[in-house]
């Protein structure tokens, strides 16, 4: 069976970095990798997702509905949305705990979910929830590094170890603010 990771967030948060680092780490761990980014309106603050499937029996690039082993989200509401769509019973939602209000929330039409609410709704699906946030991050894009660090610490996926993820992150960033990112990674990994 393929191992499926569904990555999501808000357009502009840079989920491409997560997807790229995870792909590199997965290949380094010996998995055959297939995946897919959603492009299009990425910069316009809508929901965005990226898909990663490990293992040779995954022929199609998108994680099918309800078949994600891990949902990895860069924002709380998107974490909930991603889990409701993709998470399979027994799977884990790991999200970076930050809040971007959509228009419907800002204009009072809808409520923004609390962390407890997210956990409860995910539990109803038979899933587990983990969240991470790191104090004093200078650039919101480093939230990617925090998520990868915690993913490594949780040991949720075959081959996603501290070493493979850390070097995949370094490879993906190719020097851009590398030290600060690795510091965030280590802090989140605990």
């Amino acid at each position: 069976m393929a191992f499926n990771v569904y990555i999501c967030g808000v357009g502009g948060q840079g989920i491409g970095v997560l997807a790229a680092a995870l792909s590199t780490a997965a290949e380094a761990a010996g998995h055959e990798v297939r995946g897919c980014d959603t492009h299009g309106l990425a910069q316009r603050h809508g929901s965005v997702s990226s898909h990663l499937r490990l293992g040779g029996d995954a022929l199609t690039p998108r994680v099918p509905e309800g078949q994600a082993d891990i949902v990895l989200a860069l924002e709380r509401l998107e974490g909930l949305r991603g889990a409701l769509y993709a998470l399979k019973p027994g799977g884990t939602l790991l999200y970076y705990d930050t809040v971007y209000q959509p228009v419907t929330v800002r204009t009072g039409l809808r409520a923004y979910p609390s962390a407890e609410k997210v956990e409860a709704q995910v539990a109803e699906l038979g899933g587990k929830t983990a969240r991470v946030s790191v104090e004093g991050i200078s650039d919101p894009r480093m939230q990617n590094a925090a998520l990868l660090g915690r993913l490594a610490a949780l040991g949720l996926a075959p081959g996603f170890t501290r070493e493979t993820l850390r070097s995949a992150l370094a490879d993906t960033l190719g020097g851009r603010a590398l030290e600060a990112n690795l510091a965030v990674f280590d802090k989140a990994a605990g």
Partner: protein, 626 residues
């Protein structure tokens, strides 16, 4: 990760984890392609990004983003008429724009070969419809190959280019969104030694190239003959793939193509079902002998496809013509004709015919829907400022017409600006039609500047000539923003500047105002004047795309910390104009009722400052934003 420059210029063979669009661009270089053209549109613009990834002097090919898809297709055709292998690529609906010339292509002796690459969009992920361009192949007598993966995109491009050049005919390569954007490891070949030259080989004797009454029939006969020849090649092509049932010889079969075929293979494997899958590489013309064999050797066959009943109709006709006893199943529900195939959807469709082997997956447990997050205009976007001003200046009952581009998002709350939309460049003429015989409701049309050059100019000339009583708000942001900031014509990035006001004057526009979009009072005044003007009036609302502007500023100065605005809590009277009407995504409304500015989103442009009735939005000190 391999850089785009390396992808396009590395001479030896290599392997890399790559998305479909990039694999296609490399395939172009491997094929020795000389000319590529495009108009940007999702899901294809990354092909262009890769082609541009090699420094210009190292490119063995010529590439341009043209003013529209028809221009792109004609330019690629012209190059092929001269003997140069060419390709053009664009999104699904782009083919409508190119259709007038496309439809003639199969009658042309394209001595260099030419591949027309389509990014179709089942699921309407980023398009105004999910039109099925497989119909165009039939109408234009142009064969169509359909890759399902980045690897296949490379392989089928190479094949399409080779056959196209040999038979001197155009060939379609139809990708869909999640083939363009799929990622996998692809084995690339070396680049050819010694690029082909640029000798112009056009010779009218290769034609005739002018289809008129006397020549149409021989030309059409030639097109049909080549189409048949292509079909014979495809009948024996190794690109068609059979995925035999794991359980041994099967009485059930599935015929499919592209990504839906792989969905079928996954569904069969997951169900452990005794069914063979025949994945067709070429969906026009169909490999009829191969299909007839498959039908004859299975008792029941399911035709699985996305969108319209294209393969189904052909395959049923084939079974009928050949008198085959095979029972042909197909999708049953109207909803099956909408959206994109996934393995669970494939299982559900197959279950409708073979419930003993397939099960529709159980529905997701009912859950409270989380708050929707629709795309929005970026913080600081000039369109927001323009919408805010225009909305306040409009009289009751006014009709606003949208066009394609970032500003299309204005139709959503809270702006609700631009509430009807057909296609690229339609807004002037649709608006002119709405104004006919209408003296009671003002008509205001919006248009972006890339779209202006793409398809709106004939409509503008018509509005001038007929003096249509509408106001055109031309939102000039200096780029093709929606698809990722490809340069548009006339900005001076490529070629000379074409100043819009001068162009509009030359086209005969008599009422013209040119206003900075952040100056909302001035813009509102100009709009009122324009609406009072009897006849066609144009107001340019000008502001650079701020996403592009900020990206470029950060690239120049990586440490750039944009300045910000803040809400002065002592002054804030809780009007919520900033949150609910101007609606920059940077404003955060807290449960207690206060409003603050999100430090990660605000770019400090200050276009919101003027909108607060209590003057509570203030610029923070420091920073170096615009």
């Amino acid at each position: 990760m391999i850089s785009l420059k390396e992808l396009m210029t590395r001479r030896d063979a290599f392997t890399g984890l790559t998305m479909g669009n990039y694999a296609l661009a490399r395939a172009m270089a491997e094929a020795g392609l000389k000319v590529a053209t495009s108009y940007p549109g999702s899901p294809t613009p990354e092909i262009g990004a890769a082609l541009l990834g090699a420094p210009e002097e190292e490119r063995p090919y010529y590439f341009e983003f043209s003013t529209n898809e028809k221009v792109a297709l004609e330019k690629a055709a012209g190059a092929s008429l001269n003997g140069h292998l060419s390709a053009c690529f664009f999104k699904s609906v782009g083919l409508n724009v190119a259709a007038d010339s496309l439809i003639q292509l199969s009658m042309m002796e394209l001595i260099g070969g030419m591949v027309v690459i389509l990014g179709d969009d089942p699921g309407a992920n980023s398009s105004q419809n999910e039109q099925d361009n497989r119909h165009f192949a039939r109408m234009s007598y142009i064969p169509m190959l359909e890759p399902a993966t980045p690897r296949e995109a490379r392989g089928m491009f190479l094949e399409a280019a080779a056959v196209s050049r040999r038979l001197r005919m155009p060939v379609f390569l139809r990708l869909t969104t999640h083939v363009c954007h799929a990622r996998e490891r692809v084995d690339f070949g070396p680049l050819p030694d010694g690029a082909a030259g640029w000798e112009p080989g056009f010779d009218p004797k290769n034609g005739p190239y002018v289809p008129v009454a006397a020549t149409v029939f021989p030309l059409k006969e030639k097109a049909l003959r080549k189409q048949d020849e292509f079909g014979r090649l495809m009948d024996v092509s190794a690109m068609n793939r059979l995925f035999p049932a794991a359980s041994g010889p099967a009485r059930l079969g599935i015929v499919s193509a592209g990504l839906p075929a792989l969905c079928a293979v996954e569904a069969v494997a997951a169900a452990g079902a005794p069914a063979d899958v025949l994945k067709l590489a070429c969906t026009w013309p169909l490999p009829s002998e191969k299909l007839a064999d498959f039908l004859a050797s299975h008792e029941e066959v399911f035709v699985l496809e996305d969108l319209d009943r294209v393969l189904e109709t052909e395959i049923k006709a084939l079974a009928f013509d050949r008198g085959l006893k095979c029972r042909v199943h197909s999708r049953k529900e109207r909803s099956d004709l909408m959206g994109e195939m996934t393995p669970p959807r494939a299982a559900a469709m197959l279950a409708s015919a073979w419930p003993e082997h397939f099960k529709a997956p159980p529905p997701r447990p009912a859950a409270e829907e989380p708050a929707a997050r629709l795309p929005q205009l970026c913080p600081g976007c000039g369109h927001r400022s323009a919408f805010h001003a225009v909305k306040r200046a409009l009289p009751p009952g006014a009709i606003t017409v949208a066009d394609i581009g970032c500003h299309s998002m204005g139709f959503m709350p809270p702006y609700e600006m631009g509430t009807v939309l057909l296609s690229m460049g339609h807004s002037v003429s649709t608006g002119a039609g709405l104004a006919l015989g209408n003296s009671s409701r003002k008509v205001v049309s919006f248009l972006g500047d890339s779209t202006f050059f793409h398809a709106a100019m004939p409509g503008i000339v018509n509005a001038v000539v007929q003096d249509s009583d509408i106001t055109l708000v031309l939102l000039e942001n200096g780029t093709t923003a929606m698809t990722g900031h490809q340069p548009r014509a006339g900005t001076g990035e490529i070629g000379d500047k074409i100043p819009l006001p001068r162009l509009l004057e030359a086209m005969g526009v008599k009422f013209l105002r040119d206003v900075e979009a952040y100056k909302q009072a001035e813009l509102a005044a100009a709009l009122k004047e324009a609406m009072d003007h009897k006849g066609f009036a144009v107001v340019i609302a000008r502001h650079p795309c701020m996403l592009k502007f900020m990206r470029e500023a950060k690239a120049r100065n990586p440490g750039l910390k944009p300045s910000r605005v803040a809400v002065d809590q002592a002054k804030c009277a809780r009007h919520y104009t900033c949150v609910a009407e101007f609606a920059c995504p940077s404003f955060v409304k807290h449960d207690a009722g206060s409003v603050t500015v999100h430090p990660e989103l605000c770019i400090g442009d200050g276009s919101c400052v003027q909108t607060c009735p209590a003057a509570a939005i203030v610029r923070e000190k420091g920073g170096e934003g615009k």
